[in-house]
Amino acid sequence: MLREIRPAIVLLVGLTLITGLAYPLAMTGLADAFFPKQAAGSLIEKDGKVIGSALIGQEFKDDKYFHGRPSATTAPDPADASKTVPAPDNAANSGGSNLGPTSKALADRLKEDVDKLKAENPSQPVPADLVTTSASGLDPDISPEGALFQVPRVAKARGMSEDTLRQLVADNTSGRLIGIFGEPRVNVLALNLALDAAGQSRVH
């Protein structure tokens, strides 16, 4: 058994250096050489400032923007570090609500959100993704139905025609990969950037 101690130590150190340092560092170098944009986090800049990542959901509250999905992420309570407070789309602390199918808290939250959305747009059924929290709390996408549902509100807030907005949603909808993988979706940040751009070109 004693003669197994030397390989235990030396191989552990050797393989740790290879898999724990050389490999991730080499991958960092290669990733930066081949895919620099993705490796840095798919960041989007506007006027030289980082406004977010194309892959990370951000919170939109204003009526003139399309809203993303509800987010259950939290942050430490500034008043008491042992507690947490809700902090939607906190990209430094991802997570879901973890509320189960018989949770009263979930039932109450769903009802409240459904009522709010029904009041906003009584003409269409409420899409499920607009009232359920995502797994990561950072879902960048909503369903196409979820975007179309919000068209009347955004149109009113911006004074734009609903047809223009529906066209924008269609332009920003990604389908399934080769028609099979994933689900059709709309990236909310991309849609809102397109919305701002469309608004500006109209004003000027």
């Binding site: 393989l15 980082v50 509250k61 430094a92 960048p140």
Partner: protein, 567 residues
């Protein structure tokens, strides 16, 4: 349920089946010490590692020495992770300024990574520095995966060899597995993941100002290099708290599909390695068939249940299935499939929050783990777990006809059956035992996020996942307490090593036996009857062990859910 959803599922099964044979061929060559196309590059590295560590390539080990070598290797692994976590504040590569991790959490995490569990009581981006993620976790992702694989290979050698005392050399196996199998695949795989949008950077977290003028701190890091091995090695510990649901850890539908394939690829290929080494590939296919039957049954129930949604959603007129805790880019089908795969294997990565699954949808992951993660299973661990059940099934068949049971030319006798039973029984002892303790202690019960039967399921799931070295969670449970950290660590340790040691004892005793040629009275172990028998034994033993606990958790919750009761 939709046609496109099923198409994704069928395509998945087809690809796994297609990969099994070529990967099995390659892995067999690696473990037989033969030359591969990577030898010109890797052989010099391999030889120099043996040279500095004083390993004699030609010297094989007795099963006990093999096991002790493996244990010694792990002692060092625990010390490295524990030390790094406690000292991370003083070490480099810590741009987010993470402070030292508490003793109990460091211990739990160290135990979790050496056992291939990767239970996340820590929140990756809010707790760990890049150095810990790389040197502590990424390296152990490799080594615990390699360990699982080589133990399975040692057990296979036990079946394949005759009248010898040795089962291979642990040091050679672990080095070759890491260098020739895991590392090359991960290099290509990590680059693919970056292409799909996964960050791979040592830079600090990003400070963004959103369109509405709010500030958003975006955690990044060397994600892709870790995720590649996390999936391939069925480790499952996330770089981020939300694991594979996080858009950075699983950016697209394609990255999701490839991640699912990489969870099963090596585990499925090991069944082919088994077939090749015992001299009949059909033996391997029969085992894969047992796994396939159980897997597909699980997918059907889980997908059906999630697509149906919950009672409270129907009452509000919400359609399209249970989207709480799921991501739009994956949808119901790919989320359900991922949940079944990750728990069938001992991966434990999640792309949706299992805690928010419907009662029956969440029960399938639980059952998968309670069966011992033998449906493909953790790399290596799944195969040796399944072979234990095979030993048992063969024993039962032998009792029926009153003849000493044989399997692939080896007589299965009292010692093998005793060891198999020991390994199979130790799992429920851990997860049922600790759950019982936890739910009667008032202080620990308050850690539950959900009331009623769902809270019980959260605790049961936590211990099941840790005992099974899975690492996925009903994440609502606030598991980061001294009680859960320490008892969980015990569950992980026992669940891993008390399965390994009996399995290795079987390997040793089988290797020493003579090989007997099949005769007219030998029970054929490549046909449908054998597959049915093994499935039956698994379900009967599994059902008897954990059905009462399931009745208290998901089953009663399903009835409550349909009755519209909330807690």
């Amino acid at each position: 349920m939709s046609v496109i959803g099923w198409l994704q599922i069928i395509l998945y099964c087809v690809i796994i089946a297609a990969l099994t044979k070529p990967l099995g061929w390659y892995m067999t060559r690696v473990f037989n010490g033969e030359r591969t196309f990577l030898s010109p590059v890797l052989r010099p590295v391999e030889v120099s590692l043996y040279w500095i560590s004083g390993v004699d390539e030609g010297r094989e080990q007795h099963w006990l020495t093999y096991t002790i070598s493996m244990l010694l290797f792990h002692v060092g692994g625990v010390l490295i992770i524990y030390g790094l976590m406690r000292l991370q504040a003083f070490l480099p590569l810590n741009p987010a300024g993470q402070s030292a991790v508490a003793e109990d959490l460091s211990f739990n995490t160290a135990m979790s990574f050496i056992t291939n569990t990767n239970w996340q009581n820590y929140g990756g981006e809010s707790t760990l520095s890049y150095l810990v993620q790389m040197v502590g976790l990424t390296h152990q992702n490799f080594l615990s995966a390699a360990t699982g694989i080589v133990l399975a290979v040692a057990l296979i050698r036990g079946f394949a060899r005759a009248s010898v005392r040795t089962v291979g050399n642990f040091w050679v196996d672990v080095t070759r597995c890491t260098l020739y199998i895991l590392l090359p695949i991960c290099i290509v795989y990590a680059l693919f993941l970056v292409w799909q949008g996964m960050p791979q950077t040592l830079g600090p977290y990003i400070e963004a100002t959103t369109l509405e003028g709010a500030r958003q701190t975006i955690a990044v890091g060397p994600v892709a290099s870790q995720v590649a091995i996390k999936m391939l090695g069925t480790n499952g510990g996330g770089f981020f708290n939300a694991n594979a649901a996080h858009p950075f850890e699983n950016p697209t539908a394609l990255s999701n599909f490839v991640q699912m394939i990489s969870i099963f690829a090596l585990g499925a290929a090991l069944t082919n390695v088994f077939g090749r080494m015992v001299g009949n590939q059909r033996q391997g296919w029969a085992i894969l068939a047992v796994m396939g039957v159980l897997f597909i049954a699980g997918v059907i129930v889980c997908y059906w249940s999630e697509a149906n949604g919950t009672g409270m959603m129907h009452a509000l007129g919400l359609t399209g299935g249970n989207m709480e805790g799921k991501e739009v880019r994956f949808g119901i089908a790919a989320s359900s499939l991922f949940a079944v795969i990750t728990t069938a294997a001992s991966c434990g990565a999640v792309n949706a929050m299992h805690d928010s699954f419907t009662a029956l949808g969440g029960m399938i992951p639980l059952i998968n783990m309670q069966l011992g993660e033998i449906i493909v299973g953790g790399v290596g661990a799944g195969l040796y777990g399944m072979l234990l059940f095979v030993v048992l099934a063969i024993f039962v068949a032998g009792l029926m006809v009153g003849r000493t049971p044989e399997y692939v030319g080896k007589k299965i006798e009292a010692r093998e059956v005793k060891m198999a039973m020991l390994a199979i029984l130790v799992l429920p002892l851990m997860y049922l035992g600790w759950t019982a303790v936890a739910v009667v202690l008032p202080s620990t019960a308050s850690a539950m996020n959900n009331a009623g039967p769902h809270g019980f399921t959260e605790v049961l799931y936590a211990y099941t996942s840790q005992t099974g070295n899975n690492g996925s969670a009903f994440a609502g449970l606030s598991g980061n307490t001294v009680f859960y950290n320490l008892t969980g660590a015990v569950a992980m340790f026992v669940g891993r090593f008390f399965m390994i040691i009996p399995a290795m004892a079987i390997a040793g005793s089988l290797a020493a036996k003579k090989s007997i040629p099949p005769s007219a009275g030998t029970f054929p172990t490549t046909g449908g009857l054998f597959v049915g028998l093994v499935v039956g034994v698994i379900l009967i033993i599994g059902g008897l062990t954990f059905f009462p606990a399931l009745a208290l958790g998901p089953i009663v919750e399903h009835l409550a859910m349909n009755a519209g009761t909330t807690f």
